[in-house]
C-alpha cells in the first residue's frame, strides 16, 4: 500500500506542485519571521549586553515618554560622587544622552535617519562599553567640537571640518565635526553625535549640574549584582527615585523598548503567514478533492482488490504528509532566504544586522514542519474521508462525468446556520453602544460570515455567475456561452477556487471601507474643529524645539500662535478607577484656532491654572462632575490636584492611546511637567495679513528647522490621509500575497478542467474552433471564476466595512464612505488575475493534438 501511495504521489507531482507552493509560501513566512526576530533579538541582546555599563543609575521611567513630550528625565550630576564612594566601584561617570534634538547641516538639511530611528547626542566617554571607536580626527574638546558616527557621516556626506547646527532644548548651537567614530557593534540605525563631557550637560540639558544617568564600572572581583546592591546602599533613601540596573537588567530594559518595533515586524510577517496558510488550505483541499475525483476508478479498484476504507484514507493522508514534508522543507529554505532579504532591507534602512550571525533556533524548523505538515494534514482530511467512501463498484462503472457532485443540501444548511449566527453577531455589533462589545461581536461576525460564505460558496455559483456571465453570449458569441457554462459545470470546484480569492478581497473590501470612512471622518472633524490658518508640526507628530514657536511668533504678519504640548498623566477617578492617558496642554487663545464645543464651562475655565477639561461622556461614565477635584500624577512623580473646569462635547477622543480627551493650560503643564517641547503650533495670520501672504514668510522663517512643516487645512487633511494609507498599504500587501496563492488555485483548477475536457476540446477543434477561440474560451472561464470570487469577497467586505464603521462611530468617527474607485479597481484587477491564471492552461489546451484529444479515453 505504501508503494502504491508513493507511486501515486510521484505520478501526480505536477498537480501537487501548486499545492506544495502554497505550503512553501506559508512555511516560508513563518520560518522567515522567526529567524528574523531571533536574529534581531540575539543581535540586540549582544549589543545591549556589551554596551551597558556594569551598573547604571537612571531617573525613574514612570510616565516618561520622550517621544510624546520631548522632555528629558535627569538626575543631579553630583550623584556621581555619592555613587563613586561606594565600595567596589572602579569608576563612575555622569552621562548625558538626549534624543530631543535635531542636527542640521550647513544647507539646513536634517542629518537624522529617515527611518524614524532617533538622533542621539551625548557626552564622549570612550570605554570598553562604547558602541563606537574613534577612527579619524580627534576627540571633541571645548564647546564647539563634536564627533559624528561614520554611518551618518557617510550617508549625509559630512566630513571632518564641516559645521553642523544642533537644535537642543536649551538652545541652538553650532559645532565643528572634528572626528568620525565607527561602530564596533551593530548599528541600530540611530545617528550619534558626541560632545566634550565638560560641555554636554550645559549644551544639551541646560545645566552642568544635571545628567541623564550614572554609569558605574565594577572593581575586579565585584559582580554586577553585588555592585548594584552597594550602589543602592550608597544612595540611601534617594535610591527610590532612581532605577539602578545591572548590565543584564539594562540590556533587557533596552531590548524591551526596542521590542515594540520588532514585534510589529514579527506580527506583520505572521499576518502574511496566516493569510498564506488560510488561502493555502483552500488550495490544498481543492487539489486533493480533484485528484480523488479523478482517481475514483483507481480507488474503486484498490477497494475491489481488498483494501479497506482505513487503508485508502491512510493512503491519501500519507500523500498529504509527503506533500507537507516536501513543502515544509522547501519553505524552511525559502524562509532562510526571506530572513536574509529582511535583514538586507533593515540594512538599507540603516540598521546594520550582519547576516552572517543569522540565528536559526530549534524552534524554527519545529514550527516550520508543524505548520507545513499540520496544514496539509488538516486540508487533506476531508478529501481523504471522501476517498475512503468510494465503493468498490466505482472500479466497474464508467468513468464518472466530471461536474456531477453530491447535492449541496448539507452545505446549504450548514452555510445558512453559520451565516445566520454571523449575521446576528454583525447586527449586534452595529447596534452595540460599547466599543469593547462591538469589537468582539465584529470579530465573531467576521469569522462566521467568512466561514458561511466559503461553505455556501458553491450554492452561489449558479445565480451569481448566471448574472456575471449574462453578457458573455452577446459579447463573445458561442465561445462566451461555453465558458460561462463551463464555469457553472462544477459549482463545488468553482466555489472552492473562487474562495481563495474571496478571502483576500473580503479583507481588503472591509479595510478600505473602514479607512475611507476614517479619512472622511477626520476630514469632517478637521473642517469642523480646526480654525487656525496654519498648523506647524512634523509628519510623525513628534515634538520639536521651542525655538520654532519663537521664530513663528516673530514672523512678520503672524498673529495668534497657540502651542500644543503633550504629556502622559495618570488620573485618579471618583469611581475608584485610575486612567493612564495622554493629555495636551494649550496656550491661551485656543478658541480662535480650534472650535471646541463645551457641555459645561469654556476654554477660559479649562485652561485656567490648576484646572483641566475632559470629555463629558467620559466624565459621566466615571462619575466626574464640573468642579470635581482629581488627583493627577505627572512624569517624574510630580502630583497635582486639578479641578475640572470644563466638560467638552468632543465627538472623538484625540487619538489612539488617549482616553477622556484631557487637556489643560500650558501653565499647568509647565508647572508639573516642565521641559517639554511643542507638538504642534496653531497659527493665525495677523489682522490685515492675508494667509497666503503669511505662508511663504513662515516657510522662510522655518527653513533652519527642517523637522517641521507649515500646513493649511487641506495639507493637514492630506497628512492625516497619508497616515491612514500606511495601514492600507499593509492590507494591500496582504492582498497581494492572497492573490498570488489564489492565482495558483485558479491555475490548478483550470489545468485540471482542461485535462478532464480533453475529448471535448478535441471535438471543438475538429469541428473548427480556432486555437485563439479556444484560448479565449478558457480565459473567459477563468475571468468569470475570478470575478465571482471578487464580487463575493467585496460584498462580504462591504458588510464588514459597514460594521467596522459602526465600531469606529462609537469612537466618534461617524462619517461613512465607500471607496468606489478602489472597489471598481479590485473588480477589474480580479479580471486581470483571471486572464493571468488562464495563460498556461489555455496554452496547454491550444497546443493539444486534435487527433490525440479525440481518441483520448
Amino acid at each position: 500500500m505504501l508503494k502504491a501511495t508513493l507511486r501515486s504521489f510521484l505520478a501526480h507531482k505536477g498537480r501537487l506542485a501548486l499545492s506544495a507552493l502554497a505550503v512553501v509560501l506559508s512555511v516560508a513566512f513563518v520560518a522567515g519571521s522567526l529567524i528574523f526576530s531571533d536574529t534581531v533579538t540575539r543581535t540586540f541582546d549582544r549589543l545591549f549586553a556589551s554596551t551597558a555599563a556594569d551598573v547604571t543609575v537612571q531617573p525613574k521611567r514612570d510616565l516618561m515618554s520622550a517621544r510624546a513630550s520631548g522632555a528629558v528625565g535627569t538626575l543631579p550630576a553630583a550623584l556621581r560622587e555619592k555613587v563613586a564612594r561606594a565600595d567596589g566601584v572602579a569608576a563612575a561617570r555622569a552621562d548625558v544622552q538626549v534624543q530631543n534634538i535635531v542636527v542640521v547641516d550647513h544647507r539646513d538639511r536634517s542629518i537624522s535617519p529617515t527611518n524614524g530611528a532617533p538622533t542621539l547626542a551625548g557626552s564622549w566617554y570612550p570605554t570598553r562599553h562604547s558602541p563606537v571607536e574613534l577612527t579619524s580626527g580627534h576627540a571633541p574638546r571645548g564647546p564647539g567640537e563634536a564627533l559624528l558616527d561614520a554611518d551618518t557621516a557617510g550617508r549625509r556626506h559630512v566630513r571632518i571640518g564641516d559645521t553642523l547646527t544642533v537644535q537642543a532644548q536649551p538652545g541652538t548651537f553650532p559645532v565643528r565635526v572634528v572626528g568620525i567614530a565607527t561602530f564596533t557593534t551593530t548599528n541600530t540605525g540611530a545617528a550619534l553625535l558626541f560632545l566634550d563631557p565638560a560641555v554636554a550637560g550645559h549644551r544639551l540639558l541646560g545645566s552642568d549640574a544635571r545628567a541623564t544617568g550614572i554609569s558605574v564600572d565594577a572593581a575586579p572581583g565585584v559582580s554586577d549584582a553585588q555592585l548594584k546592591h552597594r550602589v543602592v546602599a550608597a544612595l540611601g533613601a534617594a535610591a527610590a527615585a532612581y532605577d539602578v540596573r545591572t548590565a543584564d537588567e539594562q540590556a533587557k530594559s533596552a531590548a524591551a523598548s526596542l521590542g515594540t518595533f520588532l514585534d510589529v515586524v514579527k506580527y506583520v510577517m505572521l499576518g502574511f503567514a496566516g493569510v498564506a496558510l488560510l488561502v493555502g488550505v483552500f488550495l490544498i483541499v481543492n487539489t486533493f478533492s480533484m485528484l480523488i475525483a479523478q482517481r475514483t476508478r483507481e480507488l474503486g479498484l484498490l477497494r475491489a482488490l481488498g483494501a479497506d476504507r482505513k487503508q485508502v484514507r491512510r493512503s491519501v493522508l500519507t500523500e498529504a504528509l509527503l506533500l507537507g514534508l516536501v513543502g515544509s522543507t522547501l519553505g524552511l529554505a525559502a524562509g532562510i532566504g526571506l530572513a536574509y532579504g529582511l535583514i538586507g532591507l533593515m540594512g538599507a534602512l540603516g540598521m546594520n544586522l550582519s547576516a552572517a550571525q543569522m540565528v536559526i533556533g530549534w524552534g524554527t524548523p519545529a514550527a516550520a514542519y508543524l505548520v507545513g505538515l499540520g496544514v496539509t494534514f488538516v486540508a487533506a482530511y476531508l478529501p481523504a474521508r471522501r476517498a475512503a467512501a468510494v465503493s468498490p463498484m466505482a472500479a466497474l462503472a464508467d468513468a464518472e462525468v466530471a461536474g456531477v457532485g453530491r447535492p449541496l443540501r448539507a452545505r446549504a444548511i450548514a452555510g445558512a446556520a453559520v451565516g445566520a449566527v454571523g449575521a446576528a453577531a454583525l447586527a449586534g455589533c452595529a447596534a452595540a453602544t460599547k466599543t469593547g462589545t462591538a469589537a468582539v461581536l465584529l470579530g465573531i461576525g467576521v469569522a462566521l460570515t467568512l466561514i458561511a460564505t466559503v461553505v455556501a460558496g458553491p450554492l452561489l455559483v449558479r445565480p451569481v455567475i448566471r448574472v456575471l456571465g449574462a453578457g458573455f453570449p452577446a459579447l463573445f458569441g458561442t465561445v462566451g456561452r461555453m465558458s460561462q457554462r463551463n464555469a457553472l459545470r462544477n459549482p463545488r470546484r468553482t466555489g472552492a477556487t473562487a474562495a481563495a480569492l474571496m478571502v483576500g478581497l473580503a479583507l481588503v473590501g472591509g479595510m478600505s471601507v473602514a479607512s475611507a470612512s476614517m479619512s472622511a471622518s477626520f476630514d469632517q472633524q478637521i473642517d469642523r474643529r480646526l480654525g487656525a490658518d496654519f498648523t506647524v508640526q512634523n509628519a510623525n507628530f513628534t515634538p520639536f524645539t521651542r525655538q520654532v514657536a519663537d521664530r513663528v511668533a516673530a514672523t512678520r504678519g503672524a498673529g495668534l500662535v497657540v502651542a500644543q504640548r503633550l504629556t502622559r498623566i495618570a488620573v485618579g477617578l471618583p469611581d475608584g478607577g485610575r486612567v493612564e492617558t495622554g493629555a495636551a496642554g494649550y496656550g491661551p487663545g485656543l478658541d480662535d484656532v480650534v472650535h471646541l464645543s463645551y457641555a459645561k464651562g469654556g476654554s477660559a475655565a479649562a485652561l485656567a491654572d490648576g484646572h483641566l477639561a475632559l470629555d463629558a461622556s467620559f466624565a459621566e461614565d466615571h462619575g466626574v462632575r464640573l468642579g470635581s477635584v482629581l488627583p493627577v500624577r505627572f512624569p517624574g512623580g510630580r502630583r497635582a490636584e486639578l479641578t475640572v473646569g470644563a466638560l467638552t462635547e468632543q465627538s472623538t477622543t484625540d487619538g489612539f492611546g488617549n482616553q477622556g480627551g484631557v487637556f489643560f493650560g500650558l501653565g499647568t503643564l509647565e508647572r508639573y511637567a516642565p521641559g517639554g517641547q511643542d507638538s504642534a503650533l496653531y497659527v493665525n495670520a495677523a489682522p490685515g495679513t492675508r494667509p497666503q501672504d503669511l505662508r511663504p514668510r513662515l516657510e522662510q522663517a522655518l527653513k533652519p528647522f527642517p523637522q517641521v512643516q507649515v500646513r493649511n487645512q487641506s495639507d493637514y487633511k492630506k497628512l492625516v490621509h497619508d497616515q491612514i494609507s500606511v495601514l492600507l498599504y499593509l492590507v494591500y500587501a496582504l492582498l497581494g500575497l492572497a492573490i498570488v496563492i489564489a492565482v495558483l488555485g485558479v491555475v490548478n483548477t483550470l489545468a485540471l478542467s482542461v485535462v478532464e475536457r480533453t475529448r471535448e476540446i478535441g471535438l471543438l477543434r475538429a469541428i473548427g474552433l480556432g486555437r485563439r477561440q479556444l484560448r479565449r474560451m478558457i480565459r473567459l472561464e477563468s475571468v468569470v471564476i475570478a470575478v465571482f470570487g471578487a464580487v463575493l469577497g467585496l460584498a462580504l467586505g462591504l458588510v464588514w466595512g459597514v460594521c467596522m464603521q459602526q465600531v469606529l462611530a462609537l469612537r466618534g468617527l461617524t462619517a461613512f464612505a465607500i471607496p468606489w474607485g478602489t472597489i471598481v479597481a479590485v473588480v477589474i484587477g480580479s479580471a486581470v488575475v483571471g486572464v493571468v491564471a488562464a495563460l498556461l492552461p489555455a496554452l496547454r489546451a491550444s497546443r493539444m493534438n486534435v487527433l490525440a484529444a479525440i481518441a483520448h479515453e
Binding site: G477, R485, L764, A766, I767, G768, L769, R771, V850, I854
Partner: protein
C-alpha cells in the same frame, strides 16, 4: 473486370461527375527510419460528389488515418490532398481550422456533442464559431428530417445515444458542407438506432444532395453506401459498388484469408 479496365479504373478512382475530395500518393508514416510504420502507403483516392462512400478495413488498415488526412485533421508525410479545388496539404493550421469549420461536417463514434450546450446550440456550433448566421430554412428542414424538433432545448445528457448521434448528424449537415465525414457513427448504438442514423445519412445523400464518407468496420453499415472502398495495410485494395451486407462480408473474408496479397491483386 478486365485487366486493362482495372488499370484504368484503379480502386478508389472514380472518373466523371466531379470529385468532392481526392488524394494522390497520400502517404502517412509514423515514426522514422527502421521503426517507421506506414499507415497509408501512397494512396490515390477520389471521393465522388453527391455519393455515399464507405471506407472499410480491419483495425490498423489505415481507414481512420485516411479519413483524418482527407479531413485536414492530420498532416500527411507525402502526397497531396484536395478538397474540391483547394489543395489542403500545405495549408497552415489556421486555414485548416477554417476549412474544417466551413466546408466539412463531422460525426464521431462517441462524444460528439458539447455537454454544456443544448441540442440546438450544438447543431449550429460550427456556424456560431464562425460567426455566421445559419440558413434557417435549411436548418428547419434538417431538424425536421432528423425528427429533432422536440429535443432542441435538451442537453446531451438528457438525450439517448441514438438521439445524440442524430444531433451530431444534424450538426454535420447544418452548414451544408462540401463533405461529411462520419467515423464509425453507429459504433456505439444498438442496431435499431444505428439503422436510423444510417437511414439519415442515406437520406442526406439522396434527398439533400450531400456527400458522405463513412469509416466503418460493420458490413451492415457499409451496405447503405453507394461504394465501399476496402483498405488493408495502408492501401486501397478493392472497391465494391452497390454493396449488400453479404457481398461486403464476403469480400472482407477474402482479405482476411489472404492478407498481404493486396498488391498482387491490383495488377
Amino acid at each position: 473486370m478486365s485487366t486493362s479496365a482495372a488499370a484504368r479504373h484503379a480502386p478508389g478512382r472514380v472518373p466523371g461527375e466531379g470529385t468532392a475530395a481526392r488524394a494522390r500518393g497520400l502517404t502517412k508514416a509514423y515514426g522514422a527510419g527502421e521503426t517507421a510504420v506506414l499507415a497509408l502507403d501512397s494512396v490515390d483516392v477520389d471521393i465522388a460528389r453527391g455519393r455515399f462512400t464507405a471506407v472499410m478495413g480491419p483495425s490498423g488498415s489505415g481507414k481512420s488515418t485516411l479519413m483524418h488526412c482527407l479531413a485536414g485533421l492530420d498532416t500527411v508525410s507525402a502526397g497531396q490532398v484536395w478538397l474540391g479545388d483547394t489543395e489542403i496539404t500545405g495549408l497552415r493550421e489556421r486555414e485548416l481550422t477554417r476549412l474544417r469549420r466551413d466546408r466539412i461536417g463531422f460525426m464521431f463514434q462517441s462524444f460528439n456533442l458539447i455537454p454544456t450546450l443544448t441540442a440546438a446550440e450544438n447543431i449550429t456550433l460550427p456556424m456560431d464559431i464562425a460567426g455566421r448566421k445559419p440558413d434557417q430554412a435549411w436548418l428547419d428542414q434538417v431538424i425536421d428530417t432528423l425528427g429533432l424538433r422536440g429535443r432542441l432545448t435538451h442537453r446531451p445528457s438528457q438525450l439517448s445515444g441514438g438521439q445524440q448521434q442524430r444531433v451530431a448528424c444534424a450538426r454535420a449537415l447544418a452548414s451544408r458542407p462540401e463533405l461529411i465525414f462520419a467515423d464509425e457513427p453507429t459504433g456505439n448504438l444498438d442496431s435499431r438506432a444505428g439503422l436510423e442514423v444510417l437511414g439519415f445519412l442515406r437520406g442526406a445523400v439522396d434527398d439533400l444532395g450531400q456527400t458522405v464518407v463513412m469509416v466503418t468496420h460493420d458490413p451492415g453499415a457499409a451496405a447503405h453506401s453507394d461504394l465501399v472502398l476496402f483498405l488493408a495495410d495502408g492501401r486501397i485494395v478493392d472497391e465494391l459498388a452497390r454493396p449488400t451486407a453479404e457481398r461486403v462480408l464476403e469480400r472482407m473474408k477474402r482479405f482476411d484469408g489472404a492478407r498481404g496479397t493486396g498488391a498482387a491483386r491490383e495488377d
